[in-house]
């Protein structure tokens, strides 16, 4: 046992300070834009799923996801220019690998549950995205976990209690909620 209580205390205090600074840095660096981008993607995508034919909605989702991915990559590259070092590169790589693996776990879960209908697929994706959100929240602060938990709860309520308007529900509360959270982080953190 070669970590003394004092050493642990100092290291954890350093981590605590970095968490606070990271929150401010996230707010200032434009990371909230990810939330707004994906909030808009969800808003439009789920509205498409609610009101348009399945095939058309599918194409809209593909287009929106592609656009969201490109925009996120551009913003990510721009943000990465702010702080660049060997250590930060390693942390970024670790987070990227986690999200990639999360995607694979989501695909595996859908494969296990197959055949799944459109709403089930949407719920699986929502649940895994929110698990990713939880894991990221764990690295930053308690408060950043709760919006993810609330969105999950709303999604489950919509899925089980309001199946007829599930997509509309997710568009407004899920997509709209993410946009609102992005604006909140930008203005309050």
């Amino acid at each position: 046992m070669n970590v003394s209580p004092t050493e642990a205390e100092e290291a954890l205090a350093a981590i605590q300070t970095m968490m606070q600074k990271t929150r401010r840095a996230i707010s200032s660096s434009g990371a909230y834009l990810f939330l707004i981008i994906w909030g808009v993607v969800w808003l439009l995508g789920f509205l498409g799923s609610q009101f348009l034919p399945i095939e058309t909605a599918g194409y809209i989702w593909i287009g929106l996801d592609t656009l969201g991915g490109i925009l996120s990559a551009v913003i990510g590259i721009r943000m990465n220019r702010g702080v660049r070092s060997l250590s930060s590169g390693t942390s970024g790589k670790r987070i990227a690998i986690f999200w990639m693996l999360l995607f694979l776990y989501c695909v595996a879960s859908i494969a296990v549950a197959w055949p799944a209908d459109g709403k089930q697929l949407a719920m699986f994706i929502i649940l895994f995205v929110m698990v990713g959100w939880l894991a990221m929240g764990l690295l930053l602060s308690f408060t950043s976990i709760w919006p993810g938990v609330i969105i999950t709860a709303l999604a489950l309520v919509g899925y089980f209690l309001l199946p007829g308007i599930f997509n509309l529900w997710m568009a407004i509360l899920g997509g709209g909620g993410m946009i609102a959270l992005g604006l909140y982080i930008h203005s309050r953190w």
């Binding site: 350093a14 401010r24 702080v83 776990y105 296990v112 699986f124 308690f142 999950t152 489950l156």
Partner: protein, 195 residues
């Protein structure tokens, strides 16, 4: 309400120093894990899986009791070990970290239950593989906080579980007992000897 401070107030040097501190702590934590007895938790879980899955495969009529008793014993042992290890490093700063990790696992349980509920109707094997997927996902998230090496063991176990589920459904539980449970025991011995 927190007042918004200067934009981007982490200098590259500050970030580098803080990350180096965290990096050093990760290495020390790995050594601490190997020396503190955390590996015993893996062995206990491995044995519970080994015995539980073997009973599900060969004596399904009593497997419910085996899992219940095994899980209770495993939880008691894990809690006792957790308390013993918790006494070694105790400070105001460790409590929030432990609380955060505990909350994460608690929420992950709810997400696992939600996933099974969404996938319903599910059979025993589907429910099992969902539970395995979520446990391994939790390990991956924990690996993010500690080091790369603690992540990778979850991947082969996940891959083996999926291979067993899709390709060997008739011996899935036997497969999970021997390779999942046995794999954890081997990993624990590896951690003890190499970290």
């Amino acid at each position: 309400m927190a007042k918004k401070s200067d934009p981007m107030n982490i200098s590259p040097n500050e970030a580098e120093e803080a990350l180096a501190t965290i990096q050093a702590m990760r290495k020390k934590t790995l050594h601490s894990y190997a020396n503190s007895g955390t590996y015993i938790t893996l062995i206990v879980t491995g044995i519970v899986w080994l015995v539980g899955f073997l009973s599900t495969q060969f004596v399904p009529e009593i497997s419910g009791y085996v899992w219940t008793v095994g899980s209770i014993l495993g939880t008691i042992l894990g809690t006792v070990l957790g308390f013993r290890m918790g006494k070694r490093v105790r400070s105001p700063s460790t409590a929030p970290t432990a609380k955060r990790i505990g909350l994460f696992w608690l929420l992950l349980v709810f997400y696992g239950i939600a996933t099974i509920a969404v996938a319903r109707p599910t059979d025993g094997k589907q429910a099992t593989i969902f539970i395995v997927l979520f446990i391994m996902l939790g390990q991956l998230a924990m690996g993010l906080l500690f080091s790369f090496s603690s992540v990778w063991w979850a991947l082969p176990i996940t891959a083996l579980a999926l291979v067993g589920y899709f390709l060997l459904p008739s011996i899935f539980y036997l497969w999970m007992g021997v390779l999942g449970g046995g794999g954890m025991i081997v990993l624990a011995l590896y951690i003890r000897s190499r970290w």
